[in-house]
Amino acid sequence: MTAVSMTVNGKPVTADVDPRTLLVQFLREHLRLTGTHVGCDTSQCGACVVHIDGKAMKSCTMFAWQADGANVTTIEGLANGAALHPMQEAFREHHGLQCGYCTPGMIMAAVDIVKRKGHDLDDRTIREELDGNLCRCTGYHNIVKAIAAGARAMK
């Protein structure tokens, strides 16, 4: 067993875990933060994206111990209390989700895109930046619209 401690959504957590425990497993099974999803086993789909020290990372592609000491934000920690994050609001407003399974990862990735690429995102940029996130439901059309709108709203 390996001891891990990190801050998740602002709260300190510590646990003893099997060293093979993936960060996503730790979040979902130990902390019961089931908003972060698993859609693949080859780091392709992005359903598992969380923020680690402010950067988007695929939580299926690292062990829990690799996030030791880090500041982790999951979809559950994105909103500011009852007030939704502008990107969450934009996904709802623009129908950027259907089954909702890819959505937490999409929203977390989108916030990161805005941080890196700014608030005025064109169609091409958003589509290229979504290379690591798969959605089988929406055909991406409304996700792209939502991210553009969310980016503006984050100004």
């Binding site: 693949c40 989700l97 439901c137 929406t138």
Partner: protein
């Protein structure tokens, strides 16, 4: 139109939980004392299982049980079944081979479960699964459907690996029409095999309650009631009233979550054997091996034309690969969901179709978004397009010339089209796509060394599945009606119980819109209950674009009853005759007076029952209805795809997409557009990117997202979506259904556009850069140098 009623783009009620990470999918459920299951799966496509030694695995840390197919059989757990009987031409019934949830004696595809390891943790189960020693004797594998009849026989019941040899139509009339034809267009078509890949992998949690001798199954299902029925009645796990099936939020399905799968049966069984809840969560790689695949047809098709371009007849011969076992609805897909749509939007007097369904050593194939109808549309729309090119006619003009214009229209392949205006959708799509400006865009592209092409697909589908008597006469083992219950609470809020089950379609919103519209109450006061066999009495689930046309029609029928009963209550309250009560905008009034009662007051009075006696009226306000459709519905439309191809690399970009669809009445245009977007993406995925490839030994070589090209955001331009409306005459709101249209229309539009660009018809799906490049090279070699 009110802000939340029929026709309004209401933002979805379900979204709050999804965008905040509070959705509840099956894998999010954790049962007290639960164990984790891992399946040992056959690495061989076809092999005898000589012996399974579980002793080493049993001794591994945390192991609760290691179970095999022999134990399953000893416990008399029944086989999985296919619920749609198809008869061959000679009258013999389809050859359904036994399909145990865990193979015993023989494995028939790579991924066939051969043992189940149950352990305290997932890691322990995985570690122990490695220790299960299976002694296989590999047998020759049958992979290519076109060669299946000559391959090693897979199942005793099916000589030549043939499940059925079915046909539809009048062969003599078709032959005569071909003899009189001026021109015949012939095509060989492979409809590529696809992996549905809903982003949420399948999950099953089985739990046995010793106190009540009852089971609960949590699963990722589009139709929990059908799962319960099959697992109770055919598999014999427990009587129906002792089995509860709960499908919570479902993360996409596209058909793949309709079926009753081995893992669900095995987890239930294992929960009784171990006395612990047993949870299995599929990996993505496992999903590739174990989820039912889609399509996989090999077809030769011909279309006969008169000298004026009128279509005289169509004939098709299809080999359909159903995989190693017959999945739940597999037999219906290449027959009644396929050949019945071969008339397309056209008035074709004579059609004949033969379908041979075969077993191969591949994972079972069943319905995937569109199910049979994309395959039919591809055949028809390719024939029409190529036919136009061969005869030097404009493809839009040829279509227009042949459109069905008078309704109802009886096709030679069972269907009676009830309403449509195919010319209207074609015309509107051509305007939006600026077909007039295409020649210039093509010249401009050529200046940059690019080839531009434009392709049409004027598709039709049969949805609203389906009139029970009709499907019963065609072999369905179930009726395909839908149920609804409208429960009005004493305070006037409403719960709608439906047998449909959303997996991304937004039923919690659209269904509530219908009720808000009808009862004049705020949409916030309405909730939708679905996906639990203990809450909803029965239902047939969500697939085949049926939830609107069938499910909502059932709700409307229940609302009729609620309104009738509420009027009775209002009559007592207002001391008026029931026939004088008018209900409008959430208010009951007495005609010609100013006496009125609000919805909430009437609901309350229905429950306090102070204004009427029990002899006069039953208290309460709750009504249920079963709605059985009287016809299929016929969504149709026109999709136009414009592609640009890099001559050097063959890389194809979709640069414009126009869709004009006729779905009848639209309840929520935002949701409908979303459905169209998603369908197009899957259709374009089939045409350009996706293909499940097995090698000669039956190994799935495209078995992960690394090798199976899933469509990504950068594969698409923004879509231009519009609608035309002819209402469906057979259901109360005029709904047709929209969930599958894009996937049905898109592949033909893409391939028609590519072949238009490169000037050769020899392009197979998926039209990857390599495929297109090779076709271009071949065409260039064949082209006379002078050209």
């Amino acid at each position: 139109m009110s802000a939340t009623g029929i026709g309004a783009a209401v933002r979805r009620k379900e979204d709050h939980r999804f965008i905040t990470g509070k959705g509840q999918y099956t894998d999010d459920i954790s049962r007290p004392g639960e164990t984790r299951a891992v399946f040992v799966r056959s690495p061989h496509a076809h092999a005898k299982i000589r012996k399974i030694d579980t002793s080493a695995a049993q001794k591994m840390p945390g192991v609760v049980a290691v179970l095999t197919g022999e134990q399953l059989a000893a416990d008399k757990i029944g086989h999985l079944i296919c619920g749609w009987m198809i008869h061959s031409k000679d009258g013999s019934p389809m050859k359904m081979a036994p399909h145990p949830a865990i193979a015993s004696g023989k494995a028939c595809y790579v991924g066939d479960p051969v043992a189940l390891v149950v352990a305290e943790t997932l890691t322990q189960a995985r570690d122990a699964a490695e220790k299960v020693a299976v002694d296989y004797e590999p047998l020759p594998a049958v992979v290519d459907p076109a060669k299946a009849k000559a391959g090693a026989q897979i199942h005793e019941v099916a000589p030549k690996n043939t499940i059925y040899e079915w046909h539809l139509g009048d062969v003599k009339a078709v032959e005569a029409a071909f003899r009189s034809a001026k021109h015949v267009t012939k095509l060989d078509i492979v409809n590529n095999r696809l992996v549905p890949n809903a982003m949420e992998p399948r999950v099953a949690i089985g739990e046995y309650d010793t106190g009540n001798d009852s089971f609960t199954l949590w699963n990722t299902s589009q139709n929990p009631h059908v799962a319960r029925l099959v697992i109770a009645a055919f598999i014999g796990m427990a009587p129906e009233h002792k089995l509860r099936v709960i499908a919570p939020d479902v993360g996409g399905g596209f058909g793949s979550k309709i079926f009753i799968y081995p893992e669900e049966v095995a987890c239930l069984w294992a929960s009784k054997r171990t006395g612990r809840p047993v949870k299995w969560t599929s990996d993505r790689s496992e999903a590739f091996l174990a989820d039912a695949h889609g399509r996989d047809h090999v077809t030769h098709a011909e279309m006969a034309f008169a000298s004026d371009g009128k279509i005289l007849a169509l004939r098709a011969k299809t080999i359909a690969n159903l995989g190693a076992y017959m999945s739940t609805f597999s037999s219906s897909v290449p027959t009644y969901l396929y050949a019945t749509l071969l008339s397309g939007q056209y008035d074709i007097a004579h059609i004949y179709c033969e379908v041979d369904a075969v077993y191969t050593n591949t994972v079972p194939v069943d319905a995937y978004r569109g199910a049979g109808r994309p395959e039919a549309t591809f055949v028809v729309e390719r024939l029409v397009e190529v036919g136009a090119r061969e005869q030097g006619m404009d493809p839009a003009e040829l279509r227009r010339k042949n459109f069905v214009r008078n309704f109802p229209h009886q096709t030679p392949v069972i269907m009676t089209y009830d309403a449509g205006d195919y010319n209207a959708s074609l015309k509107k799509a051509m305007e939006i796509a600026d077909v007039k400006g295409f020649a210039k865009r093509r010249r401009d592209a050529a200046r940059n060394g690019k080839l531009r092409g434009l392709g049409y697909s004027t598709y039709i589908e049969a949805c609203g599945i389906a009139p029970s008597q009709a499907v019963g006469s065609l072999g369905a083992g179930v009726g395909l009606w839908e149920s609804a219950e409208v429960r009005v609470n004493p305070t006037g809020s409403v719960e709608i119980l439906t047998g449909c089950h959303a997996h991304g379609q937004g039923h919690e919103t659209t269904f509530a819109q219908v009720v808000a519209d009808r009862l004049g109450i705020p949409i916030e006061n309405i909730s939708v209950v679905h996906g639990d066999t203990d809450k909803v009495q029965f239902g047939m689930g969500t697939y085949g674009s049926r939830s609107g046309a069938v499910g909502i029609s059932a709700i409307v029928k229940a609302l009729d009853k609620v309104e009738a009963k509420a009027k009775k209550v209002a009559a007592h309250m207002l001391e008026a005759s029931e026939s004088d009560i008018v209900f409008k905008d959430g208010k009951f009034t007495v005609a010609g007076t100013d006496k009125a009662a609000a919805w909430g007051d009437v609901a309350l009075n229905a429950y306090i029952a102070h204004k009427f006696s029990g002899q006069e009226l039953e208290p309460g306000l709750k009504e249920g209805a079963f709605y059985d459709p009287t016809n299929f519905t016929f969504p149709a439309g026109c999709h136009i795809c414009e592609v640009e191809i890099d001559q050097e690399t063959g890389e194809t970009r979709v640069v414009n997409w126009t869709a004009v669809d006729d779905f009848g009445t639209v309840i929520n245009p935002m949701i409908v557009e979303g459905q169209v977007h998603g369908g197009i993406a899957q259709g374009v995925g089939q045409a350009l990117l996706e293909g499940a490839v097995y090698d000669k030994e039956g190994q799935l070589v495209s078995g992960s997202f690394m090798d199976y090209a899933m469509p990504r955001a950068e594969n698409f331009p923004p879509f231009n979506i519009d609608t035309t409306v002819t209402k469906c005459p057979s259901n109360p709101l005029g709904l047709k259904g929209c969930g599958e249209a894009g996937a049905i229309a898109a592949p033909a539009a893409v391939i028609n556009a590519i072949t238009d660009a490169i000037g050769t018809e020899e392009v197979t799906m998926p039209a990857t850069a390599q495929t297109v490049w090779a076709a271009l090279q071949k065409a260039n070699r064949m082209r006379p140098a002078a050209e």
